[in-house]
């Protein structure tokens, strides 16, 4: 075990993948000499050369589109999108090519592309630097989507994503880049939990809180606070957003009968809506209260000085917990 930040764990995962498989490449803006604006690729170009750790012209569609061509030639490109808000120029290549080529070609052309996206807010950034676009990709068949919450997962899941023959959109919560944790750099990824599984990160009996990414930490904080009031929260880190591991979620909800889903992305047709619709279908008769969402508002990401009113905090999670427990009168009403 080595103590690493999430950022360094990600670097280690790429270093390992580059060393193990010479078809692996890393490409993106400023990822070479600079090591990326977050330094996640720090040192990789020096170690593996500019042919394998490739600074690209400033064009995201070009980056993803050429990664597709490299995959045609048998490479396994890891693409870094500099910030979440800059993935949209590549949307066409991701949705119409990366996601569909394996289907289109009846499995003949594989797209083992990992698209790494420094993701979401809470870091006081400028506009377009705090987006949570994961639902777009979850809604896109043909992609796998994962979101990491801690250094060990960052390391293991990035290696799994690179090893996957499917394209993986890999979300890295920016506000966790400096979070530290023990990482087992030697473990065989075959022994780790598969990429598609959720994890119960805290057991509890009263309410199931489902979340992912940096919100896992917020949910854990909420669980601690709730404990003081005698409320026991079970926290599930989804880890994978496509597929979603409903086995793990449903097992928990069947025990607790109450569920809160929280994420930072906006609410309408977001991942929480998906989780609630599926869980309601699968666990209807176990539910004691309507599952609730605690999400970002349906607004463009606000200016930095206002972001703490947008990104759900511990209090907003606890408020929803109170509601599903019937301890709050603030139950939603239809306004129309």
């Amino acid at each position: 075990m080595t103590e690493l930040t999430m950022g360094k764990a990600l670097t280690a995962a790429m270093r390992r993948a580059l060393a193990d498989d010479d078809r692996v490449l890393v490409m993106g803006e400023d990822i070479g000499r600079l090591g990326g604006v977050f330094r996640i690729t720090d040192g990789l170009q020096e170690e593996f050369g500019a042919r394998r750790v490739v600074d690209t012209p400033l064009a995201e569609s070009g980056i993803v589109g050429t990664a597709v061509g490299l995959a045609f030639r048998g490479f396994r490109p890891i693409v870094e999108i500099q910030f979440d808000g800059f993935v949209y120029p590549a949307f066409d290549q991701i949705v119409s090519q990366v996601a569909k080529l394996h289907y289109r070609t009846q499995g003949r052309v594989k797209m083992p592309i990992t698209i790494r996206i420094p993701w979401a807010g809470g870091v006081g950034a400028a506009e377009h630097h705090s987006e949570s676009p994961e639902a777009y990709f979850v809604h896109t068949a043909g992609l796998r989507v994962v979101a990491v919450s801690n250094p060990q997962d960052a390391y293991t899941m990035l290696r799994q994503a690179i090893a996957s023959d499917d394209p993986v959109v890999f979300f890295e919560p920016k506000r966790m880049y400096h979070a530290k944790g023990d990482v087992d750099l030697e473990a065989d990824i075959a022994d780790a939990a598969p990429l598609g599984l959720a994890r119960v990160v805290r057991e509890g009996t009263d309410v199931t809180v489902v979340t992912y990414g940096a919100q896992v930490t917020t949910a854990m904080d909420a669980a601690l606070a709730a404990e003081d009031e005698g409320i026991s929260l079970e926290i599930i880190d989804l880890r994978s957003l496509s597929p979603i591991d409903y086995g793990t979620v449903a097992a928990s909800v069947r025990r607790t009968g109450r569920v809160v889903v929280t994420h930072e992305a906006s609410r309408e047709a977001g991942v929480a809506a998906e989780v609630i619709a599926s869980i309601t279908e699968k666990c209807f008769h176990y539910l004691e209260a309507p599952p609730l969402r605690v999400t970002g508002h349906d607004i463009p990401y606000p200016p930095a000085k206002l972001e703490h009113h947008h990104v759900p905090d511990l209090d907003r999670i606890l408020d929803a917990v109170d509601q599903v427990l019937g301890r709050s009168s603030n139950v939603p009403e239809v306004t129309a």
Binding site: G65, T66, L70, A71, S96, D166, G196, P243
Partner: protein
């Protein structure tokens, strides 16, 4: 000062300002730029080339017929564009990898794509037919321009492998307006990769004339990106072979990308759904019919004494067998199995989709004898 550049005065629609080796009548003319690349093209080879052009022409007509008869949902006719398609493909090595759009029938003929593989997609049975790694041709791209970046990425791969192939991006005049095609030139030039861009300027993007996309000849764009270009008569197969040999040699020898604009014409409608009488004159079509790419090779071969009735008969017979096979692939074809919709969405198991598939299977089982 190199920077007071002003745009050329030639306009995009000037279709005579091109490099050419066979004139409209099939007479051999000289072009100093192209001569070295055409020196060894003899009559036997040109007969083979003609054979592919002829097959492309017949195959295309059969596609239109099958669509009219209701066997295909759509067809995108290539009539009039056989020279650029067949010629550029002939100029390539077998393992050069070609990334076509939906209209590049001729290159697929050259690469030996099988009869059924020309129709099963338009029939609606599958999104792509042949195995791209067998023929070194990607399945046709529908998203305008997207394949240009794939070709550049593939060429980045060749560069890394130290391979001696080139990648070829085929696209139309309309496609040159897409960001992707421009980004493709930028990436290709930046990395100096072995890719050739082939723009088949057939004067129209559905109803839009090429002047809406470009005020200057399309070939003029590439040099600004550091890519040498050539504007060639796209209805002259000899010129297309020569130009493509130059371009592929340039790319193959490590000098970076090259660009061809092949000036040609789409004689038919954009697709079988299109009605070109709404946007263009009969006179224009007649003008181009008189510049047919097949006629002039035939005339040239005749002048060399290399085209006789028995050759013509063998072409017709071969094409007849080919089109018959196309037809039998779709006429009376059985509908694919319903559950096939779930195949190959992912390369590895996906619990969400696997559950959906299982549910749908049991739903289908609920019908007596399964669903249709």
């Amino acid at each position: 000062m190199t920077d007071t550049l002003t745009p050329a005065t030639v306009v995009a629609s000037d279709t005579e300002d091109v490099a050419r080796l066979l004139d409209h009548e099939g007479r051999r003319v000289r072009d100093e730029r192209l001569e070295p690349w055409a020196a060894d093209v003899d009559a036997p080879m040109l007969r083979q080339v003609y054979r592919d052009m002829f097959l492309a022409r017949r195959l295309d007509a059969e596609g239109v017929a099958l669509q009219r008869q209701g066997h295909l949902g759509l067809w995108a006719p290539a009539q009039g564009q056989e020279a650029v398609q067949v010629g550029t493909a002939w100029a390539c090595h077998d393992d050069d990898f070609l990334f076509p759009s939906y209209r590049e029938i001729g290159i697929e003929v050259v690469r030996g794509v099988q009869p059924q593989d020309f129709v099963l997609v338009w029939h609606g049975a599958q999104h792509a037919s042949w195995n791209p790694f067998d023929v070194h041709v990607a399945n046709p791209q529908i998203i305008i321009g997207a394949q240009s970046l794939h070709a550049v990425g593939y060429a980045m791969g060749i560069q890394r492998d130290g391979g001696d192939q080139v990648a070829v991006a085929y696209f139309g005049d309309g496609a040159t307006s897409q960001g992707d095609v421009n980004e493709a030139m930028i990436f290709a030039s930046s990395y100096g990769v072995p890719v050739v861009f082939v723009c088949s300027n057939n004067q129209w993007a559905i109803s839009e004339p090429v002047e809406l996309q470009s005020r200057t000849p399309i070939s003029h764009r590439a040099p600004g990106f550091g890519i040498p270009s050539l504007r060639v008569d796209g209805n002259d197969v000899l010129a297309c072979i020569a130009a493509m040999r130059w371009a592929a040699d340039h790319a193959r020898s490590g000098r970076g990308p090259a660009y061809l604009e092949a000036v040609t014409y789409r004689v038919g409608p954009h697709t079988t759904s299109d009605d070109p009488t709404r946007y263009r004159d009969a006179g224009e079509v007649a003008y181009w019919r008189a510049r047919d790419p097949l006629t002039r090779v035939e005339a040239y071969l005749r002048s060399l004494g290399a085209f006789d009735d028995s050759f013509a008969q063998s072409l017709t017979a071969d094409a007849g067998r080919f089109t018959a096979a196309m037809r039998s692939a779709v006429v009376g074809a059985v509908a694919p199995e319903p559950l096939r919709v779930f195949d190959n969405v992912y390369a590895e198991p996906h619990s969400g989709l696997d559950e959906q598939r299982a549910r749908f299977a049991s739903y289908l089982d609920g019908f007596v004898g399964g669903a249709s």
